[in-house]
């Protein structure tokens, strides 16, 4: 059983015009097996929440705490956070020219497990994960995210989620840019990872359609850098009907 606990998190980003505060005190607790959806309009700070928890150097933490099972994540380097059990599926996965998917995955799993996986078992794991996400085997020989379509990038992110077996995953707009079929395949991957590893999920999205496949236990409305309303799955239905207007104006 793991718990990601976010308390009073304040984050700013440095711009030419000086530091701009984006997160204004976020409180959120995610436990193993739970699915939390964060919904909110563009520019509300949802992605900042995801990236600052993962440790992106662009963001400065100006207040609050983030712990995973009581251990301070904010003191850790980016790779240490991953080793502690955190995973971030990115909205815009980064191209790494000249580095093949298979080399990348092997390096990552070796770092996370502290030893190289047995070759035969690992090859099987990768093959199964790719088949489950309906990916061409040739994918493993391509360079990381280079020339991938939007859908391929997202499948590749979820394949990593299934292979690297984190405790808590943050999915930053994993649904964006996916057609109906790809959305279903990717969502099924998330559900598999949840069931296999009792994963806790923080799912960031604009839209409710992904919630048809990944049922949230909690829905949080995010606006102006903080959570402004919380509820169950029914809150998503309300947002779908009414939009964010009532939260943005406040």
């Amino acid at each position: 059983m793991s718990t990601l606990e976010i308390r009073g998190l304040q984050v700013s980003v440095n711009t030419d015009a000086g530091a701009v505060e984006i997160l204004k005190g976020v409180d959120l607790t995610i436990k193993s097996g739970e699915t939390h959806a964060i919904m909110g309009p563009n520019g509300s700070g949802k992605s900042t929440l995801a990236y600052s928890i993962a440790g992106h150097p662009k963001y400065s933490i100006t207040g609050g705490t983030v712990t995973l099972d009581g251990v301070d994540l904010l003191e850790m380097t980016v790779d240490e956070r991953a080793k502690a059990g955190l995973f971030l599926a990115m909205q815009y996965p980064v191209e790494v020219p000249g580095v093949s998917v298979s080399n990348f995955l092997r390096t990552a799993v070796t770092a996370l497990r502290g030893e190289a996986p047995k070759l035969r078992t690992w090859t099987g794991e990768v093959k199964d994960a790719m088949e489950a996400l309906k990916m061409d085997p040739a994918f493993a020989t391509r360079n990381v995210n280079e020339g991938f379509s939007g859908g391929e990038k997202k499948r590749h992110e979820i394949m990593q989620l299934e292979l690297l077996k984190p405790k808590i995953a943050i999915l930053d707009e994993t649904d964006s840019g996916l057609d109906v079929d790809a959305l279903r395949i990717v969502s099924e991957g998330v559900v598999r990872a949840k069931e296999a590893n009792n994963l806790g999920v923080l799912l960031i999205t604009h839209y409710t359609r992904i919630l048809r496949y990944i049922k949230p236990d909690f829905v949080h409305v995010f606006a102006n850098g903080k959570i402004v309303e919380e509820g169950g799955a029914e809150l998503a239905e309300k947002l779908e009907a009414n939009g964010y207007a009532e939260y943005v104006g406040s």
Binding site: H56, V96, T107, A108, L112
Partner: protein, 362 residues
């Protein structure tokens, strides 16, 4: 030891061709004060049938293409023989032919002339391995008869303290293909002048290169592609990394499309990765065009540091910073190193790149 009598115009450093080169570090190769030995260090390590390697007196060897490079002029006056590798017409050599140069010593310079000749429709890969202590000025000429195809891999893996100046001039006839992969990772000062002269239509060249300069190393790669006939194609892609105080690289890509060279297709690219402060990469693409009737002509040059987003992405998967940097640098060079097509050499170079990076304190 031979004494050079001719008074060549020694460069002062103000000339365009010499403006980046630290002349003081040439050991007198440029002004005739270098002591020149009688060494001939190039040997054939592995040949094949249809391939001959012999030293031919310069009086019997074909005249080389004129050059305005004063060091090459001195080499031509000083070297008595031309080491000549000949691949007979219609010969396809499956395995790479390896020429090797090693362990010369630094007390006197070697002036070396090399000629690599492919008969019509011959096809071969030639690897020139350079290791040991070099004080070398080298004039290499390639003659590619119509329809021939040469891949030339030139490996500068010199010991620290080595000085190597060379011209690699390829004369490429009709429908022939010249591909070179130049790797410069060792030596104190290396200055290479790869050039291509198209003399027949349908000819093509691909000049690829990688270099990694660390503390105090100066590596210069100065290209010239001469499109003097119609319908030839050239591609240039050099990638370099630099780390450490005083690491300095120079890449010059000159492409000349003459009035007669209609249908020319050319593109050149140089990318540099600056891995630390105190290093300097000069990159100058140059395109001179005398006809607008071409397929395409372009160039690009970038010099940058590590991409934070790439490192973040890799680290967010548990990969430590040093390993993430190593993956990115290997990936950066991978595109060109894999073109060598020899796993032993590729692994050796990648290991060397890892070591250079580790020394640079990542």
């Amino acid at each position: 030891m031979s004494l050079l009598t001719t008074n060549y115009l020694s460069p002062t450093g103000r000339e365009e061709a010499w403006r980046f080169t630290p002349l003081k570090r040439l050991g007198g190769l440029h002004d005739g004060t270098a002591k020149v030995g009688e060494r001939e260090s190039l040997s054939l390590k592995s040949g094949a049938s249809g391939v001959s390697f012999e030293r031919i007196s310069r009086d019997l060897a074909p005249s080389p293409t004129e050059t305005d490079d004063v060091v090459m002029q001195r080499v031509r006056e000083g070297a008595h023989n031309v080491a000549t590798l000949t691949i007979a017409a219609n010969t396809e050599v499956a395995e790479a032919i390896t020429l090797s140069r090693s362990a010369h010593g630094l007390d006197s310079a070697e002036f070396s002339r090399v000629r690599i000749e492919l008969g019509a429709h011959a096809r071969a890969t030639v690897i020139m391995e350079n290791t040991g202590d070099a004080f070398l000025a080298e004039d290499v000429e390639f003659a590619l008869a119509p329809g021939s195809n040469l891949t030339f891999v030139s490996l500068q893996e010199w010991n620290t303290g080595s000085t190597h100046l060379a011209k690699h001039h390829a004369i490429v006839d009709r429908d022939a293909t010249f591909k070179s992969i130049t790797v410069t990772v060792g030596g104190s000062l290396v200055r290479l002048l790869p050039s291509v002269e198209f003399i027949g239509q349908g000819a093509s060249c691909e000049l690829l290169g990688v270099y990694f300069a660390t503390e105090g190393q100066f590596f210069e790669h100065r290209m010239f592609v001469d499109h003097k006939v119609p319908n030839a194609k050239s591609r240039v892609n050099y990638k370099g990394a630099l780390a450490g105080q005083g690491a300095h690289t120079v890449w010059i890509g000159d492409v000349f499309i003459r009035a007669a060279a209609e249908g020319t297709d050319t593109y050149e690219l140089n990318r540099n990765l600056l891995l630390s402060d105190g290093a300097r990469a000069d990159s100058v693409p140059n395109l001179e065009i005398e006809t607008g009737e071409i397929v395409g002509a372009g160039h690009a040059s970038t010099t940058g540091r590590f991409d934070d987003e790439q490192l973040f992405y890799l680290m967010s998967r548990g990969i430590e910073l040093a390993d993430a940097r190593r993956l990115v640098v290997r990936g950066f060079f991978n595109e060109i190193v894999t073109e060598i097509g020899d796993a032993v050499i590729q692994d050796r170079l990648m290991d060397r790149i890892d070591n250079e990076l580790a020394k640079a304190g990542s």
